[in-house]
Amino acid sequence: MNSRAHYDVAIIGAGLSGLAAGIRLAHFGRRVCIFERHNAPGGLNSFYSITGRKYDVGLHAVTNFVRPGVKGTPLGTLLRQLRISREELVLCEQKRSRIAFGPRGETALCFTNDFAFFEAEVARVFPAQIDGFRQLTQLVRETVYAPDSPAQSARAVIQAHIADPLLADMLLCPVLMYGGAQEHDVDFRLFALLFRAILLEGLARPYEGIRALLRLLLDKYRAAGGERRMKCGVRRILARGGQAAALILDNGEEITADQVLSSIGGPETAALIEAAAGAEAPTPAPALPAGQITFVETVTVLDREPAALGWGDDTIVFFNDSERLAWARPEGQVDVRSGVVCIPNNFEHGPGQKLPDGIVRATCLANYDRWATLPEDTYQADKTRWYGLIQASFRRFLPPVGDAALASATVATDMFTPRTVAKFTGRLNGAIYGAAVKQLDGRTALANLHLCGTDQGLIGIIGAMLSGITMANERILRKPA
């Protein structure tokens, strides 16, 4: 019975960070295996089908878009590190997006993948703030998100440059919606990273959505010699002498690895650690509390392009109807005052590439506890009720479309809640952006166990992949084989 598998590196979770780390490690000859509990890869950015129709989860847009030939940006780094060419990952640019505030979105700032356009919008709508905005932008460009740079309150830094709280909140809105793991505020370094990713660089999408990206990563991983075990999560991490000595899989099998990378989250990883038989209990690391920020998302499938129904050309609309932007776990099940609308049809998919359906996705803050324990019939009834309330809310920020026209064009609807997220990703509280406090160096209580992905601090699709790459490089590859 001495046949237990041994790997140079075991990776927990086949999401974007785990796959990216796996590609790097396998490419450089490490014996790697990724363990994924779910039957599909992707983690927080995945996909599913209902009655033959394909749905994406997670991906609204890929951030950090720059055109081919632009070098020295995160997208370029990522593609080089994973040996992906621009021909292999074709990204279709957004048409135009909008940050809309006020009960009907009266104050709006549009943006495209050309930052000068957004700057002109700020100058037009907030003429008194443009100098401060330019100073803030310069600061954003100079800010580095690294373990040794100090954390600062983004609200405080923005306020020092921008006196109008409306503009301050409008600038925070896209950043928080696409990566605000902490309630009320965000680390300025992360604000700068996401501001660059969304506004200074830009938004794009592969024509086939998240599937295209996952397929590419899986192909690279397989070609590099990486192994993968699906429907086989890691149930326990056995600790001995400050090291992860063995992993117990969901099927009870025990495996060993010299190094372990965990993409499943900081608190989620800590919860798996227990002392190996006869070993002393591991020194507990300072507990990272689970995140509280989570969402519901509605999906409306139309028999035509949303633009043909009258919903316009916006790719993404970040909206908020109130005086200030509230960024916290809502008291009730959902907070419909603010949210994000994504219309995947409104990317420039190019000639001959038309999505099979019209799709409108709308995302609002939600409270995990208020969804987690509902009996099934109440849960379903609440989903239906909130679907209507969310739709009524976001429609205030899109051009008017009559109820009858919308109803007759709607061919399918779906909705996910924090409970869905928790069920399929194992994230505590369904916290999509993970713990409020990040562990930028990836350290855990065990010397050979490292975090990658959301709780290492890089957020979003590009961020997740860069996190996997960075942790594989810094924690494993830099050391001699």
Partner: protein
Amino acid sequence: MSAPSMTKDECKQRVIDIIADIAPDEDLSNVKSDVKLRDQLQIDSMDFLDIVMELRKRHGIEVPEADYPQLASLDSSAEYLTPKFNALAAKR
């Protein structure tokens, strides 16, 4: 044992081949041997780490971190790496 020894030009080509795979978006047709790679190409520290790791993967050559500056230009790379290539070839 007289294994055919590698010339410095051949060694430079090995390095160019690696850079071409790491940074396929760079134009390598006019790289100057005596100019730092970093000054003529968009190559960052992550790319340099990859050059080192590809040397290990493809050719079994170890470059300790203290020697990374030796890879600054093609000329300095050839000075540093050619003897290592030839030492390895002699062993085989």
